[in-house]
C-alpha cells in the first residue's frame, strides 16, 4: 500500500498544482464577482472579457514557445500567423464575399445572408491548417539561415503580411481584405438548435445572455488543448529532436535528425496554434482589422516567452497571463492609481518600453526566466554549440561547419 502511495507521489507532485490551477481557472466566472468586491485587490481583478483576451495571447505565447523555446528559432514575425488566423475567420464567417452565399453549420445568421458562413469550430481548424501552411511557406526558404538572419526574415514577413492586408482591398480589382477598414462583423461560435435541444449547449454565443462566460470557458478549453499538445509534443520524439537541435545542431544531425524537416515542423505547429488563437479572437471581437497586427505584438509575445522561461510551458502560461493582464487592464489601472497619488506617469503610453525593459532585465539577470526549464538552465550555464548551420564559409551539407569563435 505504502509502495503504491510512493509511486503515486511524483504523479501527485507533477499533476497536483496544474490540477488546482485548472480548477481555479475553469471556475473563475463563478467567483470573479465576489473577488472583485474584495478589499485591496478587488480593483485589480480582471473582468471576464479581459480574461478572454489574456488567454488568447497566452495561447499564442504557448505556440511561440514551441518555435522559440523548444526549437530555439527566434521568430519575430509571429504576428503574421495571428493575422492569417484572424483573416481566415473573417473570410469564412462574414458577409465579406458577397458574390456567394454559402452556409455550413453557422449559427446566429439567417439563411439568406450573403457571404460564406461556416461553423466557427470548423474555421478554428481551417485557420490552424492554413496558418501552418503559411508557417511552412515562410519556413522553407528561411530555416536554413542562421538564427539571427532567421529573426530578421521573420520580422520581414511580419511586416509584409500586415502591409499586404492593408493594401489588399484592390488586388487587380479584387477586394480580398477590405483594406484599412478590416472585415466586420464576424459570426460568433455556437452549437445550433439541434445540439441545444439534445445537450442544452448554447445556440449562439453572441445572442446568449451568458456571452462573456461562454467565450471565457471556450478560451480556457482551447488553451488547455494547446497546453496539453505542447506538453505531449515536448516529450515526443519530435520534441526531443527539437531540443537536440536547439542544443547542438551538428550533434543532432549526426544522430540522424533531419534538420530542415524537424525545424519546419516546429514552425508549422507553432503557427497552427497562433492561427487558432487568431481566428478565435477575431470571432470574439467580431472583426479583423489590420491595425491589430503590428511588430510590437510580436515583441510582446516574445517578451511573454522570455519572462516565463524559454522552453517552459508553464513559464509561457505564467508570462502570458501576467503580461497579458498588464496589457489589457493592469497598466491602465496602475496608471490611474499613480495619477490618484499625484504622480504624472502613464504606463500605457510606455508599455512597449516596459516590455523591452523586462526583456533586457530578464536576459541579463535571469536568462532562464521565472519558471526555468531544467535543460534550458543547463544550456545557459554550460553554454551550447549554437554556431550557425548555414555558414557562408562552406557551401556544403547542413552539418559541415566551423565552430564560431569558441
Amino acid at each position: 500500500m505504502n509502495e503504491r502511495l510512493a509511486q503515486l507521489q511524483p504523479h501527485l507532485r507533477s499533476w497536483g498544482l496544474p490540477a488546482v490551477v485548472v480548477a481555479l481557472g475553469v471556475l473563475y466566472p463563478w467567483y470573479v464577482e465576489s473577488l472583485a468586491e474584495a478589499p485591496l485587490i478587488g480593483e485589480f481583478v480582471p473582468a471576464l472579457g479581459s480574461m478572454v483576451i489574456m488567454i488568447v495571447f497566452t495561447m499564442m505565447a504557448v505556440g511561440l514557445n514551441i518555435v522559440m523555446g523548444y526549437a530555439g528559432l527566434l521568430d519575430l514575425g509571429y504576428v503574421a500567423f495571428y493575422a492569417v488566423g484572424a483573416y481566415t475567420a473573417a473570410w469564412f464567417a462574414s458577409q465579406h464575399f458577397e458574390q456567394v452565399t454559402f452556409h455550413f453549420g453557422s449559427t446566429g445568421v439567417s439563411e439568406e445572408t450573403v457571404g460564406i458562413h461556416l461553423s466557427i469550430w470548423l474555421i478554428l481548424i481551417i485557420a490552424g491548417a492554413l496558418t501552418a501552411v503559411a508557417g511552412i511557406l515562410i519556413g522553407l526558404p528561411t530555416l536554413r539561415l542562421r538564427g539571427d538572419y532567421l529573426a530578421i526574415v521573420t520580422l520581414g514577413f511580419g511586416e509584409i503580411i500586415p502591409q499586404f492586408v492593408r493594401n489588399g482591398d484592390n488586388l487587380f480589382g479584387f477586394d480580398l481584405t477590405h483594406g484599412t477598414f478590416g472585415i466586420s462583423p464576424i459570426d460568433s461560435p455556437g452549437f445550433g438548435e439541434t445540439l441545444n435541444s439534445a445537450l442544452s449547449l448554447p445556440v449562439n454565443y453572441q445572442q446568449s445572455f451568458d456571452r462573456a462566460r461562454l467565450f471565457y470557458l471556450t478560451a480556457v478549453v482551447l488553451l488547455l488543448i494547446t497546453v496539453f499538445c505542447s506538453v505531449r509534443l515536448r516529450d515526443s520524439r519530435l520534441g526531443r529532436a527539437w531540443i537536440a537541435i536547439r542544443e547542438d545542431e551538428t550533434a543532432a544531425a549526426a544522430m540522424g535528425i533531419p534538420l530542415m524537416r524537424t525545424k519546419t515542423w516546429a514552425y508549422a505547429i507553432g503557427a497552427f496554434f497562433g492561427g487558432v488563437a487568431g481566428a478565435f479572437y477575431a470571432s470574439f471581437k467580431s472583426g479583423a482589422f489590420p491595425a491589430d497586427f503590428y511588430f510590437n505584438i510580436s515583441v510582446f509575445l516574445t517578451c511573454m516567452v522570455i519572462l516565463g522561461g524559454l522552453g517552459s510551458v508553464w513559464g509561457a502560461l505564467l508570462g502570458g497571463m501576467v503580461l497579458g493582464y498588464l496589457n489589457v487592464e493592469g497598466l491602465a489601472k496602475i496608471g490611474s492609481e499613480l495619477n490618484a497619488a499625484g504622480i504624472e506617469f502613464e504606463p500605457t503610453k510606455y508599455q512597449f518600453g516596459i516590455y523591452g525593459l523586462i526583456i533586457v532585465l530578464v536576459m541579463l539577470f535571469r536568462p532562464t526566466g521565472l519558471i526555468s526549464e531544467r535543460r534550458h538552465r543547463e544550456e545557459m550555464e554550460h553554454g551550447v554549440a549554437d554556431a550557425p548551420t548555414y555558414d557562408v564559409t562552406v557551401e556544403a551539407s547542413d552539418t559541415d561547419r566551423e565552430r564560431a569563435n569558441d
Binding site: 528561411t142 529573426a151 502591409q163 516590455y355 525593459l357 536576459m363 536568462p367
Partner: protein
Amino acid sequence: MTSALDRIRRSGFVAILGYAVVAVVLVWMIGNIIEGPQQFFQVATIGLTNGLIFGLVALGYTLVYGILQLINFAHGDVFALAGLVSSSLIVSALGLDGDTAVIGIVGGMLLTLVLMMSFFAVINATIEFVAYRRLRSAPRLAALITAVGMSFIVQNISLALYNVNFHSVPNFIPRSEAFSLAGVSFSWNKLAVIVITLPVLALLTWFVTSTRQGKAMRAVAQDPEAAAMMGINVNRTISVTFAIAGSLAAAAAIVYLLQFNMRYDTGFELGLIAFTAAVLGGIGNLTGAVLGAMIIGFIQAFNEGLGWYTPGSDWTRSIVFGILIAILVFRPEGLLGERTPEGA
C-alpha cells in the same frame, strides 16, 4: 528537402531567375526614362541623397555585425534619438533659421555634427557596455533578444523626451535650387547631404584602413581570440566600434533632418531599411553597406516617385523586405560579401 533546395541553389535556374528579375527592373527603369526622362532623373536625386543617409546607418549595422555577429536592433532607434536631440540643439540652443548668415550656418552645422557625433558615440558604447557585454559568451539568441529589448527602451526614451509629435528644423539650408543640369534641379539641402556624408565616409575609410585602432577592429572581427593573443584590447575595440556606429547614426540623423521631420519611431523603419541595405551589400563589408544602401535608396525613390507601372509608396516596405528575403535565400553573402562571415 534540403538537398532539393541545394540543387536548386546550385543549378543555373536561380541565376536565370535572378537575371530575369534584374532584367525586369531594368526594363521598368528604361521604360520610365522614356516616359519622362526629366522626372526620372529628378527622382534619382532623391534616391541618391536617401541612399547616402541609409548608407551611414547601414554602416553602423555592418560594423557591429562584423565584430560581434550581432544585429544591433537598437541602432535605428539611436538614430531617431540622435535626430530628435539634434533638432532641439539646432532650434533651441543654436537658433539656426533661414535668416542666419552663411558663416553661422556652416559653423552651427559643424558644431552640431561634432557635438552630436561624440555624444552618441558615448551613448552607443554605453548601450554595448550595459546590455551586450555581459552576454558575450551566452548563446547568440540571448544577445539578439536583448537587442530587441534595447530597441524598445531607446524608442521609449525618445517618446518620453519628445512625445509623439513630429519634430523638424527650420529651412536654414534652403530647399531652393542650387544648380540645375539639363532641367534636373538639385536643391541646397540635398547638396548639403552630399557635402556632409562624403567626408564622413572618407574619414571612416581612413580610420578603418590606416589607423592602429582600425586595424585592431579588423583583427577582432576576423578572430577575437587570436587578436587578444596579439595584445589587442578586445573590449576596448568593441567599444570603439559601437562608438563609431553611434556617431555615424548621429551624422545620418542630422542630414536626415535637413529634408524630413522625425519622431520617436522614425528609426524603426529606417533601421530595418538600413539593415536590409547592409545585408544586400554583404554584411560586414563596409563598401557593400554603402552600395546596398544606394541601391535601396534608388529603388525606394523610383517606386515612390515614378509613374510608369509603379506599385507606389503603399508597397515600399513589402518591396524592401522582399529584397531582403530574396537576398538571404539566394545569395546570403550579399553582393560584395566574401564567402566568409568575418572581415570588416
